[in-house]
């Protein structure tokens, strides 16, 4: 090893040391920050229950839509949701992309009071809707992209209403007109309410018993929409069980498609583009190495 090489080696070691040290510093800083951010648990004005994640088949790089679920979901949307909500960026005709025949599309459209060339606009008059519900029901075309929690949130809303056992619990707890600390824990785990505020909880239970629309995943818990889907609300033709959970899962799948009908095209193109870029980049790196090998 000649003198020059030793010097070169030393500077490489020194440089490597520097890189390792700065990398370590960045990692320590990031880790500290992450710990503070995660453990710190930022408290906003009100605690909101986060809907649990669902195993959607269409998410992820290789995720695909379940075609049967898409068709069932379109049926739920047309026969149930569209009583109040529009899906204005989708035309009935477009549903043929999901595997419906022309006749089936025609039947779905006519069932909703439209023709197959129309957009999926609800036949409910917005003014009348405002009178009976206090708000115009939001358009559902983008609903899975327009809420924090995305698909999981919409599914959470559809399945998050108070059940009969929840009602029984509310009646039992409120029989004496107040919420004890023991009861607060029970209610908190069943209805996902904040156990630290028994007064607020009692208020919510009163409204629930009074017949207001309670939903455990809606920020603030009470809103204008009565429970839209019940067991058996829509009659499936493919033999799938039409439970509330299944209807919700199917209609959310359909709404996720409706929010971005080009998403599968996007994902399919992405793989090709990225593979091409990876090969190109590896080659560019090889050329770079080779050219720079001469430089000292």
């Amino acid at each position: 090893m000649n003198c020059k090489e030793v010097v070169g080696f030393r500077s490489v070691v020194k440089r490597a040391g520097r890189v390792v040290r700065s990398a370590a510093a960045i990692m320590v800083a990031t880790a500290t920050l992450a710990t503070v951010l995660v453990s710190g648990d930022v408290q906003a004005s009100s605690g909101v229950a986060i809907p649990p994640k669902q195993p959607w088949s269409f998410l992820g790089v290789f995720g695909q839509f379940d075609q049967a679920a898409l068709k069932r979901g379109a049926q739920v949307a047309a026969q149930s949701c569209m009583a109040c909500h529009s899906i204005k960026y989708i035309k009935f005709d477009q549903l043929r992309q999901l595997g419906f025949s022309e006749l089936e599309v025609k039947a779905l459209a006519e069932g909703a009071g439209r023709t197959k060339k129309d957009a999926m606009i609800s036949s409910m008059d917005p003014v009348a809707a405002k009178e009976s519900f206090g708000v115009v029901p939001p358009d559902l075309s983008l609903i899975t992209k327009a809420r924090k929690g995305y698909e999981d949130y919409v599914y959470g809303i559809l399945t998050g209403y108070a059940t009969e056992s929840d009602m029984a619990l509310a009646n039992r707890v409120m029989a004496d007109g107040q919420v004890t600390a023991e009861e607060a824990k029970e209610v908190a785990s069943a209805l996902l309410l904040d156990a630290h505020h028994p007064d607020k909880m009692a208020e919510s239970l009163k409204r629930l018993i009074g017949g207001e629309n309670f939903n455990r995943y809606f920020p603030g818990n009470f809103f204008a929409m009565p429970q839209p889907l019940m067991d058996g609300a829509v009659a499936y033709t493919d033999g799938t069980e039409n439970s509330k959970v299944q209807l919700s899962r199917d209609v959310v799948t359909f709404l996720a498609w409706a929010a971005e009908p080009t998403q599968m095209e996007r994902k399919a193109l992405g793989i090709k583009v990225i593979l091409y870029l990876v090969v190109l980049t590896i080659m560019l790196y090889a050329v770079k190495r080779r050219l720079w090998a001469k430089v000292h």
Binding site: R18, A25, I26, A29, L33, V36, L37, G40, D41, V42, Q43, A44, S45, V61, Y89, P138, S141, L142, K145, A146, R147, K148, Y150, P219, E260, P261, T262, E265, R266, K267, L269, G270, I271, V273, I274, L277, V278, L280, T281, L284, Y285, V287, K288, L291, W292, V295
Partner: protein, 403 residues
């Protein structure tokens, strides 16, 4: 071919320009990968202008139509989704790349003599980028577009005497509305071209004084330089490849990662969103704005001044730093300050993301206190850097004579 070039060169010395400014342009041989981010910024600017041009062909600025038109681009225009997602994510990546580029300049002392004008052009570009990005975010006319525009334009009302009138003039009415959307579209189309012009000035200034380098020393020996082509062309191209892979992962597989869900709700002047947040790249400055809340009726004006000052202070950075050494590689104290500054900016961003009345550690520590502290540290960086260099407190390490 050579005959044609000869004919051209006699009239316009194209070959000579390419030779002296591109192919044979001498570049320090020790530039590390942090130096790739300048050319990356140019790549993103070109992506933004190209995708933006095609988006503009389909877009309509109209308070009643813009939201629908964006969805029309997403659904009906061939590859419209690609144009829009590339453009929307491009904005985030533009700031990411430019923030690294600025911090690289701060770490290696690239703002020091004789590169002050080069540095100033850079800050002007950064400032115009912020304006362009802000106005571009308004164009889809979603809830965040509308309310973001309302909050930020309202800040102008803090200007004494003319503030209130000025805001009405900017709005073109008594609230954010159709006239605002139209002028923002016009300006959003114009500003990138102005940015492109200043980028040319930035490059001119760069080529006049040449690149700084990680050692922060002047290059005297020709042996310390390499011709830009092929050495840095290939290195920049390799950087482009790596960047495009990361960029495409977001465009194709997480295109809404940087977007707020609320912006998929059409703008509604009657309904304020629960929590108005700017895009991530504005968050540190937004946190500085909100952290000045203790001056009573002067808070708003002081907050705006602090926010603008946080960028303006970069203009005088070349004169605050008095060290005889440029690169922080040989300045142990400055180096530590620098990393405190970087972490401080991230924490400011996080404070800006959370609601103003939030608190951590079971409510024991209000975020506003964290925000104020971090704002003090932000400006403190510039003061302490000046102090340790002006009074020779920092003992620098030996600097190599040549690369």
């Amino acid at each position: 071919m050579s005959k044609i070039m000869e004919w051209v060169d006699e009239r316009l010395p194209v070959t000579e320009l390419l030779k002296s400014q591109a192919t044979e342009y001498p570049t320090p041989k020790n530039l590390n990968y942090w130096w790739n981010f300048g050319s990356l910024a140019l790549l993103v600017l070109i992506i933004m202008i190209a995708t933006g041009l095609f988006l503009a062909m389909h877009y309509k600025a109209d308070a009643n139509q813009s939201f629908d038109v964006v969805e029309h681009i997403m659904r009906d225009v061939n590859f419209g989704w690609l144009l829009r997602y590339a453009h929307a994510n491009g904005a985030s990546f533009f700031f990411l790349v430019v923030y690294v580029h600025i911090l690289r300049g701060m770490y290696y002392g690239s703002y020091r003599k004789p590169r002050e004008i080069l540095w100033w052009f850079g800050i002007i570009i950064f400032f115009m980028m912020m304006g362009t990005a802000f106005m571009g975010y308004v164009l889809p006319w979603g809830q965040m577009s509308y309310w973001g525009a309302a909050v930020i334009t309202n800040l102008m009302s803090a200007i004494p005497v003319i503030g209130e009138e000025l805001v009405i003039w900017i709005w073109g009415g008594f609230s954010v509305g159709d006239p605002t959307l139209n002028r923002f579209f016009a300006l959003h189309f114009l500003l990138p071209l102005v940015i492109f012009g200043v980028v040319i000035l930035h490059l001119w200034a760069l080529h006049a004084v040449h690149s700084n380098n990680p050692d922060g020393i002047d290059v005297h020996d020709e042996k310390d330089t390499l011709p830009f082509h092929p050495y840095y062309t290939v290195k920049d191209l390799y950087g482009y490849g790596v960047f495009m892979i990361v960029f495409c992962v977001f465009v194709f597989y997480a295109p809404n990662f940087f977007l707020e869900p609320d912006n998929y709700i059409p703008a509604n002047p009657m309904q304020t969103p629960a929590h108005i947040v700017p895009e991530w790249y504005f968050l540190p400055f937004y946190a500085i704005l909100r952290s000045i809340d203790f001056l009573g009726s002067f808070s708003k004006l002081a907050g705006v001044l602090a926010m603008v000052g946080a960028i303006m202070i970069l203009f005088i950075l070349p004169f605050l730093d008095r060290s005889p050494v440029r690169s922080f590689r040989y300045r142990p104290l400055s180096r530590q300050l620098f990393w405190i500054f970087v972490v401080d900016c991230v924490v400011l961003g996080w404070v800006g993301y959370n609601p103003a009345d939030a608190a951590i550690f079971n409510g024991a520590l209000p975020l506003i206190v964290v925000g104020r502290t971090c704002t003090a540290i932000y400006f403190g960086y510039f003061f302490v850097l000046w102090a340790i260099t002006a009074f020779d407190i920092e003992k620098h390490q030996p600097v190599p004579k040549s690369i």
